[in-house]
Symmetry: C2
Subunit: 490 residues, 2 copies
C-alpha cells in the first residue's frame, strides 16, 4: 500500500499539495507558476465547464473569442484598470528567434522587435470593449451578452496549484446594456448563477456579498462575490461579478443611440470563475484519505471492482456485472469497471478513494452466489452488503443522497466556524483559530486596512441577504448598520 497523504490537521498545506499529486489532478510545469492540468483533473473541470456553459446559455449568453494579446496602450485607457494589472503582466516584445552565432542554441532576434509591445491578457475588458465600439450603434444592439472561455496570465510571485497560478483557465462574461439598472440586474443575475452552481453542483455553500471599495475589481463601480469556507477555516473567493458602470464605455468611447434619439455611453458588466474552483472543490470536501467529489461533478460516479482469483471467476462475475453496467449507463450514471489484475482489490479501494469516486461496488464469488454486492460510499466511508436486485434505483438515490450530504456537511462546518464577535480583543483571539467573523465595521478603508495589517484578516464581503443591525465598529467604535464577514483568505 502506498504511503498515506499527510493529514489535514498535521499540515493542511501539504495535505492539499499531496492530494493533488496523488489523485492525479495537476502538477507544476517547467515554467514557473504555470500548471499542467492532468486528464483526471481536467475531466472534473470539463464537467464544471459544461454545467456553467449551459447556465450561461439558458440566461441568454453566447460564446465568442477575443485575442490573447492586448496592445499595451489599451491597458492605459482605463486608469484604475492599468493600476490594478500593470504589475502582473507578461509582455511580448519580439516575434522571432534565431540561432546564436556561438552555437549555444536559440536567442531572441533583436531585429524582430514589435512596434508596440503586447500584453498577454490578464482579463479582456480592454480588448473586448474596443470591439464593442464597432458592434454597438443603437439600443437595438443591446443588451450584448457575451461570454468567453479562455486562458489568462497574471504574473504571480507566489503560486499554488489551482489557487494562484500565472496562467489559469477561466470564463469571462462581458455584457453591455442601455441602462444602469439593467446592467446591475445582470451583475446580480450572474452572481446568482455562480451561487447556484457552487451550491448545487459543487455542494459548496457560499455567502453572496458585495466587496468593499478596497477589494473591488480594477475598473468596476461595484464587485459582487461569492465566498466559501475551506476546511481550515479560511475563506476562498469563488467567483466575482462586476458592475462596470460606464467606465469602459467611456475609456473606449462606446456610445449608443437611445430610444429617444440621444447619444449615451453604454453600461457594462463582467463576471468570471476560474480553475480556482478546482482548489475550492478540493479544500471544501476532501479528507485525509483523498478527494471527496460531489456526484454531479465526479467523472466516475461508480467504480465496480470484481474480486477474483482466476480468469474463470472474472468471466463469471462479468456475466453478472456487464448487464448492470449497461443499465447504469442507460440511467446516465458514469461507471468504471476495473478488471485489471495488476493491483489487488485493497489497493484499488484506496486508489478510488483517493480519486473521490462517490460509490464503490465490489463483487466476489460469495456475492455472486448470494446475488449480493458490497456497496461503499466515499463521503461517509460506510459499506454494506445489499441485494443485487434493484441496484440501479438504489444507486441513483444514493448519488443524490451523497450530493446532499456533502453539501450539508460543508454547511454545518461553516455554521460551526462562523462567529459573531463584538470586540476587537475577541476578534484577534478568534481570527487565530480561523473561521468567518461576523463583526461591525465603520465602513472606512482606514479601519479595514488597519485590521488587515494587524490580523491578516480581510473583509470578504458585505453580505447581500443579511439583516441590518445597529452596532459599533469593533475597531473604531463608530456606528455601523450591518455586520460584515471578516476572514483570512486564499
Amino acid at each position: 500500500m502506498a504511503k498515506a497523504i499527510p493529514s489535514r490537521s498535521e499540515n493542511y498545506s501539504e495535505w492539499y499539495n499531496e492530494l493533488i499529486k496523488r489523485a492525479d489532478l495537476a502538477e507544476n510545469s517547467a515554467v514557473r507558476g504555470c500548471m499542467v492540468i492532468k486528464p483526471y483533473g481536467f475531466s472534473i473541470w470539463e464537467k464544471m465547464q459544461r454545467a456553467l456553459d449551459d447556465m450561461f446559455k439558458e440566461t441568454g449568453h453566447s460564446n465568442a473569442y477575443f485575442p490573447l494579446f492586448i496592445p499595451k496602450s489599451f491597458l492605459s485607457k482605463e486608469a484604475s484598470h492599468v493600476e490594478g494589472f500593470a504589475k502582473e503582466c507578461a509582455v511580448v516584445t519580439h516575434y522571432r528567434l534565431k540561432n546564436a552565432e556561438d552555437g549555444s542554441g536559440v536567442i531572441v532576434d533583436p531585429e524582430a522587435k514589435l512596434e508596440e509591445e503586447l500584453i498577454v491578457r490578464p482579463t479582456s475588458e480592454t480588448v473586448i470593449w474596443s470591439s464593442y465600439k464597432n458592434w454597438i450603434q443603437s439600443y437595438r444592439d443591446l443588451p450584448l451578452l457575451i461570454n468567453q472561455w479562455a486562458n489568462v496570465v497574471r504574473w504571480e510571485m507566489r503560486t499554488r496549484i489551482f489557487l494562484r497560478t500565472s496562467e489559469f483557465l477561466w470564463q469571462e462574461g462581458h455584457t453591455a446594456h442601455s441602462t444602469a439598472r439593467e446592467a446591475m440586474e445582470e451583475t446580480t443575475q450572474m452572481l446568482n448563477v455562480y451561487a447556484t452552481f457552487a451550491e448545487e453542483w459543487m455542494a459548496m455553500p457560499v455567502i453572496r456579498g458585495t466587496k468593499t471599495a478596497n477589494e473591488r475589481f480594477a475598473g468596476a463601480d461595484d464587485t459582487l462575490c461569492i465566498e466559501a469556507m475551506m476546511q481550515d477555516g479560511k475563506a476562498l473567493q469563488a467567483g466575482t461579478s462586476h458592475f462596470l458602470g460606464q467606465n469602459f464605455a467611456k475609456a473606449f468611447d462606446v456610445k449608443f443611440l437611445t430610444k429617444d434619439n440621444q447619444q449615451d455611453y453604454v453600461w457594462g458588466t463582467s463576471w468570471g470563475v476560474s480553475t480556482r474552483l478546482m482548489g475550492a472543490l478540493i479544500m471544501a470536501h476532501s479528507d485525509d484519505d483523498g478527494l471527496v467529489l460531489p456526484p454531479k461533478l465526479a467523472p466516475i460516479q461508480v467504480v465496480i471492482i470484481p474480486i477474483f482469483r482466476n480468469d474463470e471467476q472474472l468471466a463469471q462475475l462479468s456475466e453478472k456485472i456487464n448487464p448492470l453496467i449497461k443499465e447504469l449507463k442507460k440511467a446516465g450514471i458514469s461507471v468504471k469497471y476495473d478488471t485489471s489484475d495488476a493491483n489487488k482489490p485493497g489497493w484499488k479501494f484506496a486508489e478510488y478513494e483517493l480519486r473521490g469516486v462517490p460509490v464503490r461496488l465490489a463483487m466476489g464469488m460469495r456475492d455472486f452466489e448470494n446475488n449480493t454486492v458490497e456497496i461503499a460510499r466515499r463521503d461517509l466511508k460506510t459499506k454494506e452488503t445489499i441485494s443485487a436486485d434493484g441496484l440501479v434505483a438504489h444507486i441513483q438515490n444514493l448519488l443524490e443522497e451523497i450530493q446532499l450530504n456533502i453539501y450539508n456537511k460543508a454547511a454545518l462546518f461553516r455554521q460551526e466556524h462562523t462567529f459573531r464577535v463584538d470586540t476587537y480583543e475577541a476578534f484577534k483571539e478568534q481570527i487565530e483559530k480561523g473561521g468567518f467573523l461576523m463583526a461591525h465595521w465603520d465602513g472606512t478603508s482606514e479601519t479595514e486596512e488597519a485590521i488587515k495589517e494587524e490580523t491578516k484578516a480581510t473583509i470578504r464581503c458585505i453580505p447581500l441577504d443579511a439583516e441590518l443591525e445597529e452596532g459599533t465598529c469593533i475597531y473604531s467604535g463608530k456606528p455601523s448598520k450591518q455586520r460584515v464577514v471578516f476572514a483570512r483568505a486564499y
Copy 2:
C-alpha cells in the same frame, strides 16, 4: 435591402472577406493578425468542437491542459522542430509594466526581465513531452492518449481570417506508444477521424494522403493529411496527423520499461485541426448569396418567419407556430422564431440566407387559413408551399437530404476539377485554371521545388488509397509508380 456581397467569379478573395463580415462570423482585431470570432461564427466552431471531442473520446482519448508558455531552450531540443518554428514565435521577455516618467503612459519595466525568455506555444510537442518524461515509466503507462483544446500563436506576416492568423484555436492530440506499429496505427486512426468529420459533418470530401518530406511537420517522420478542394479550385489542408517516431522521446529522454524488462524510447504521434476548418467550410459550400451550412453544423437549422401586419395577426400565427417549435425542439432540431418587427420579411429572408440557415419556413395569414407553410431550402434556393401537417418528419428528412446534397455537390465539383495530366506543358496550362492535377512525380525534393518555383503548385499529398500506376515524372521524365496530387493551395 443591403448591398449584395461580391460574387465568387468577380473576386473570390473579396467574396470570402465580405461573406465573413456580413454573416457576422469574425473580424480582424486591433492586434495585427489576431481575429475576433464573433458569437455566430463561434457557435459553428462550438458545434465542430463538440463533434470532434466526442470522436476523440470514443477512440479512448482524454483532454488535459498544458502551459501556454514554453521555455526557449525546450524548442532547441528537437533540431528540425526549432528549424520549423523559431521564425514565427511570439517571445515573452518581461513580466511587468510601469508608468513612464514623462507621463506618456505605461512602458515595459526593464527591471522585470525574465531570466529565460518564454515562447508563446506555436504547438505543444516540447512542453508535453517534457511532462511525459515524468508520466511514463513502464509499458503499463502506455498508450498515453491525450488531447488539448487550446490557442496557439504563429507570427504570420500575411494573415487571412480563419485561414492564416497569428493566433488561432485548435486541438492538438499527443500520444505515446510502446511500438512503432501502434503509433503508426494511431496516426492513421486519427487521420480517419478527421476525414470522417470532414465528410460526414462538414459535408466536405477530402483526399487522405501522405505529405512529401518537404511538406512534413517539423519533427515528424511522417505526416498524413486530408486535403479538400475549395470553389476556386485551390487546395486547403484541413487536418494533419503526424507519426513522430522516437524523435521527441529522444529529445526529452522519455524511456519506458518494456514487457521484457528493457529500456526503450517511446513512440509518438501528434495530430491537429484548427479554426482553419471554418475557412474551409465557408469556401467549400457557400455561394454568392452568403453562407451555406451543412445542417449538422448549423447553429440554427430552421428559421421561422411569420408574415403579419399587426399584433393580432402575429398572435394568431404564433398560436400555430409555437406548438410546431416545441415539436421541432423535441426532435432535436434547433429553431429560431423571428418575430421582430424591426425588419421586413424580405430583409429577413436575405439575412438568414447570408447566415446559411438550411431551412426557412414562412407563414402568412393565407397559409394560416389553408393550414400550409412556405418552406425554402438554402442549398438549392427552391421553395414550395406544403401542408403544415407532418411538418416535423418532413423537415427531418429535408435536413438529411440537404446534408447529403451539399456533400454531393462538393464531390461533383471536385471531380469536375480534377485532371490527369501527363506532360509538363499540360500541367502548366491547367494549373492556371485551377483544380487538382494528378500527375507523376519522380519522388525527389528537387523536382518538387522546381515545379513549385515555376508554377506555385505544391504536392498536396501522395494519396493513400490510389492505385499504383507506372508512369514518368512530368518534370524529369524519370520513372514513377503513382500519381500524386498537385495544386495551388491556401
